[in-house]
């Protein structure tokens, strides 16, 4: 019994030691390797609030495929823009192609979405924030563990490599020890001033922990964005052929 206790204690110590010994890169790799759905459909409600507490709301339907490299968005609200839609495709060469359907003009136009710092639809999320980060684009440093809202977290400092086109100098990322999901991220601008804080909330959908809410605060502009995801469907039957121009003109029923 005593032997068993000693063996268990040693194993437990080794396990703890092994976990705490994980480097920043290892933690980032573990995050990157997490299972993600191949495709997803959701209804997005996005509320933007400016420094004077004035708000406006957009409601959209979003469909993503190829782990978010392809995305279509149809605007439901505001009514004056109902039917407007966007098609975004991230190519292998990291170039992003974006098309917009303007129902009032009956025209499709291409938009340059390669200016990564541009805001998406006036929100506090830039195109860069919305794109998946490649593991090797950054260096990772593990900082002292911390708590966010009572939740034990690993803390990572993510510094983009010089060759990367970014509007940030670094990010501090809090990763929950419990479910290994990012719960908070602080992003710093090129002058190393804190620019944004993002908070993430999750919900289980088909065994995936999917983001259910994002709260972004731009501390410099004193502007905030709340994004809610509902009616979420993952890995449902989805024909990737829909990610083309002609689909922009048709508002999906669900």
């Amino acid at each position: 019994m005593i032997k068993l206790f000693i063996i268990c204690s040693i194993q437990f110590f080794l396990l703890i030691n092994n976990l705490s010994a994980q480097t920043g890169y290892e933690l980032a790799k573990k995050l990157d390797n997490k299972d993600k759905p191949q495709n997803m459909t959701s209804r997005i409600s996005m509320t933007l609030t400016n420094a004077k507490n004035k708000s406006r709301k957009n409601v959209m339907i979003s469909k993503t495929a190829s782990q978010s490299q392809k995305q279509m968005i149809w605007v439901l609200e505001p009514k004056s823009d109902r039917g407007m839609s966007f098609l975004k495709i991230e190519r292998e060469d990291r170039k992003t192609e974006m098309r917009i359907w303007l129902p009032a003009f009956n025209k499709i136009r291409r938009i340059n979405a390669n200016r990564r710092s541009n805001s998406f639809m006036g929100s506090d999320l830039s195109y860069e924030d919305m794109m998946s980060r490649s593991l090797d684009d950054n260096t990772y440093l593990r900082l002292e563990d911390d708590q966010i809202g009572g939740e034990e977290c690993y803390v990572l400092e993510v510094i983009p490599k010089k060759s990367i086109n970014t509007s940030y100098s670094k990010h501090i990322t809090w990763v929950s020890k419990e479910n290994f999901q990012i719960v908070q991220e602080a992003s710093y601008d090129k002058k190393s001033k804190l620019k944004k804080i993002k908070n993430f909330h999750y919900a289980f959908v088909n065994n995936y922990e999917i983001i259910s809410k994002i709260h972004v605060k731009d501390l410099q502009k004193k502007h905030k964005t709340d994004i809610y995801f509902d009616q979420v469907k993952v890995d449902a039957k989805m024909d990737e052929k829909i990610f083309q121009e002609k689909s922009l003109k048709r508002l999906p029923l669900h």
């Binding site: 823009d81 917009i100 303007l102 136009r109 639809m121």
Partner: protein, 766 residues
């Protein structure tokens, strides 16, 4: 009878206290002054011209709404470049980039607009692109030519960003709402000079620059010249009074009154937080006014004391006699002047309330000190009866004696001449013009004026008109009416540019339809407008629109920048804009503001305040003196010199082309304050001699008695003619007009009033 006893008892009590306890009569006021003086540390200096406007005035309400929704509309402009060389070159763009970034990094600055950070909307290979006009600090020739082409194809951007000849960049700095303009001005000049002064010609301008610079400059200028004025005043007093101690004591009364007035201002701000007691550009006239009034009280006491010493040689008796003779007239002059200044409580300019109350407190304190501190101090000195000050008449005293005889011998002629001068003055009133634009405060050959003139003439101009439109902004009907308004604004030759959300919609429309210029129009369908704006929010930076439309597209702002306009031009221009606003059919709610409107409203306020102040003061003074002398005709006569002086002064300003501004308007206060003093002293002395049964040569005796202190007072106040050497045109006018005002009030009292009383003496002597 009761009041008479009361008057006597207070007078005798004061006389007794001053003679029996001179030290107490000196130390107690000194302690009181020190306590009040502590309040000076709480004085808040405010350079905001808008603070003068009443909170319920429509242009102020609209101004506040615009500032709240779109941020500060008062800007600082920096223009830099070369006189004979184009600004479109690599190093200039690099410096523009550095300057823009440096200014953007300052928390005191809300927004910078320059070619470096303006968005460029264009159609590239079928792509709609919204990006920075200057993509990086270092540019090549192709990029520079591309920027040049874009700027020259966009009239609005060109007008806002470069000079007419293309030799200077223009950078617009929008201060953060909560930061004082003088603070932002200092930061902008420091950064601008450090980055640019070696290689470029730099000019600064804009309303925030002017309002941030001018109050401090005026205060420094006035402080310096006031010092010179005080030295001159002391010299004039010394030459005539011929005793340093006596002159020193008069100054002590003046300085203590000033301390109490300024201290009260600080204490009220400290205890109540009232913005009406902030020290603004208007308040810079307060020291001059109080100086002249306090000086008057002191001069009367000292000259009377010396006169009595000359007759009886006894200090206590002389002091008792001086207080006995002067208590009532000084009390009455103080009460009437205080009443006159308290009428400012009802003036439409907010700061005039604090102005009137604090100045009244200073006048009250000068009265108390003149009859307690001053005689007590005089009683402590061992006077040499053989000194010139006591044994001999002063130079002015001898002149006045001769002058008195002349007036009394030809009262009718004097009256007729006086009336003619008054009528000429009244005729000149119709020529009087108002100008409150502080850009015009500087002489044309000064560096400051040259710099703001450069911005005004070569760049966007210094003035602005803002039209706040409350309507569904995406509605094409709203946009079309906004466009019509811009057409009207642009039709004024002084307007350099106008911009609003209409320009963005039109430009997006054109670019969307294959960059076809025919489509640079407002789309007819609201959904089209909405689609365009949504597209902008996807491809551009929403912040670009923050200064032209509110967050929910319910309020829009039309801005027109213009060169400086004359008062008449402003009034006519605003009238046209108001008519157009009235004709709006779809825009339900629109209001006009901007510096041009503020200036127009200030013009009306200055006129209204001056008229209210003059009329109410004159009526009050007439009423108080009528009640006190129990005779309306005495009350009427007491206002004759000051009414004459006001008419002559403002008439003279009209004839000489001197504009009435919020600075020169202070002349009416000085004239009323000093003019009433002179006439009351004259009338009181006249009535006193009647009571003493003096019948022969009574007017001559009165002129002998009060003429000297009146003329000495006026002459010493004329030392503020030193203000003629000011850098600021209105302050120069104040200097010149002070001399004129002193002359006209003293002259009015000793000629018009003296001649009128002389002509009416039979009825008064009964």
């Amino acid at each position: 009878m009761k009041s008479k006893n009361k008057e006597f008892s207070i007078k005798f009590w004061i006389t007794r206290k001053v003679i029996e306890n001179p030290l107490k009569s000196i130390l107690f006021p000194l302690a009181f002054t020190s306590i009040f003086g502590l309040g000076m540390t709480f004085i808040v200096v405010d350079d905001d011209m808008l603070a003068m406007l009443p909170n319920n005035m429509s242009s102020k309400l609209s101004w506040d709404a615009v500032q709240d929704e779109f941020g500060s509309t008062e800007s600082i402009f920096i223009a830099f470049g070369y006189k004979d060389k184009t600004i479109f070159n690599k190093s200039s763009f690099s410096d523009l980039w550095k300057l823009t970034n440096e200014l953007e990094s300052r928390p005191e600055i809300k927004k910078i607009t320059s070619l470096s950070n303006l968005p460029k909307i264009e159609n590239v290979d079928g792509f709609l692109e919204v990006h920075s006009l200057q993509p990086s600090e270092e540019l090549d020739d192709i990029q520079i030519n591309g920027i040049k082409k874009y700027v020259y194809n966009n009239q609005s951007i060109r007008a806002r960003s470069i000079s007419k000849d293309g030799n200077y960049f223009n950078i617009m700095v929008q201060p953060n709402d909560s930061i004082a303009h003088n603070v932002v001005r200092d930061i902008v000049v420091e950064i601008g000079d450090s980055l640019l002064s070696k290689n470029y010609e730099i000019h600064y301008g804009g309303t925030a620059y002017i309002t941030g610079s001018v109050p401090g400059m005026i205060k420094n200028d006035i402080s310096k010249l006031l010092g010179v004025g005080l030295v001159l005043m002391s010299l004039i007093l010394l030459v005539n009074i011929r005793d340093l101690f006596a002159v020193g004591m008069i100054f002590s009364v003046i300085i203590q009154s000033l301390i109490v007035m300024a201290g009260l201002m600080g204490w009220v701000v400290y205890l109540t937080g009232s913005e009406n007691f902030y020290f603004t550009i208007i308040n810079s006239s307060m020291p001059i006014i109080l100086l002249t009034i306090a000086n008057s009280d002191g001069v009367h006491v000292v000259t009377k004391f010396f006169k009595e010493m000359r007759h009886n040689g006894n200090i206590k008796k002389s002091i008792a006699k001086s207080i006995d003779t002067l208590f009532v007239p000084i009390f009455l002059t103080s009460v009437t002047t205080i009443a006159a200044f308290l009428t400012l409580y009802f003036a439409p300019i907010n700061q005039l309330m604090g102005y009137g109350i604090c100045l009244s407190a200073g006048i009250l304190y000068a009265f108390i000190l003149s009859l307690t501190f001053l005689p007590a101090a005089m009683s402590l000195k061992r006077w040499d009866l053989n000194s010139k000050a006591i044994s001999q008449n002063g130079y002015l005293e001898n002149i006045i004696s001769k002058f008195g005889k002349l007036v009394i011998s030809k009262p009718k002629s004097i009256l007729v001449v006086g009336m003619i001068i008054m009528f000429i003055g009244t005729a000149g009133l119709s020529l009087l013009k108002v100008d409150v634009n502080i850009a015009n405060f500087f002489k044309e050959d000064t560096d400051f004026r040259k710099s703001i003139d450069f911005i005004d003439q070569e760049m966007t101009g210094t003035m602005d008109v803002r039209i706040r439109v409350e309507a569904p902004i995406k509605d094409p009907n709203t946009l079309n009416e906004m466009q019509e308004m811009q057409t009207l604004l642009n039709s004024n030759p002084k307007v350099t540019t106008s911009y609003s959300i209409v320009d963005v919609v039109k430009q997006m429309h054109r670019i969307l339809i294959d960059d076809n210029p025919e489509f640079e129009i407002v789309p007819k369908d609201e959904k089209k407008v909405s689609n365009l704006l949504m597209m902008y929010s996807i491809s551009g930076d929403q912040d670009d629109l923050n200064t032209i439309v509110d967050y929910n597209y319910k309020v829009g702002l039309i801005t027109a920048l213009s060169r400086v306009m004359s008062t008449e031009e402003i009034i006519q221009f605003v009238k046209k804009i108001e008519d157009q606003v009235y004709d709006f059919k779809h825009i339900s709610n629109a209001s006009i503001t901007g510096m041009a409107i503020v200036i127009r409203d200030l013009i009306y306020l200055v006129i209204e305040s001056s008229v209210i102040s003059i009329f109410s003061s004159v009526i009050l003074i007439c009423l108080i003196t009528s009640i006190f002398f129990k005779n309306f005709s005495w009350g009427f006569l007491s206002i004759v010199p000051l009414v004459t002086a006001v008419l002559i002064n403002f008439g003279f300003m009209g004839i000489a082309g001197i504009h009435l501004s919020h600075v020169t308007a202070l002349l009416s206060s000085v004239i009323i304050g000093v003019g009433v003093d002179f006439s009351i002293h004259y009338i009181y002395q006249y009535r006193r001699l009647i009571k003493d049964k003096v019948r022969n040569g009574i007017s001559n005796k009165v002129i002998n008695e009060v003429g000297y202190p009146i003329v000495l007072d006026a002459a010493s106040n004329m030392s503020f003619g030193a203000l003629l050497f000011s850098t600021f045109i209105p302050v120069q006018y104040v200097g010149g007009l002070m001399v004129f005002a002193m002359f006209s009030t003293a002259f009015g009292t000793l000629t018009l009033l003296a001649a009128s009383v002389e002509l009416l003496k039979t009825s008064y002597s009964k």
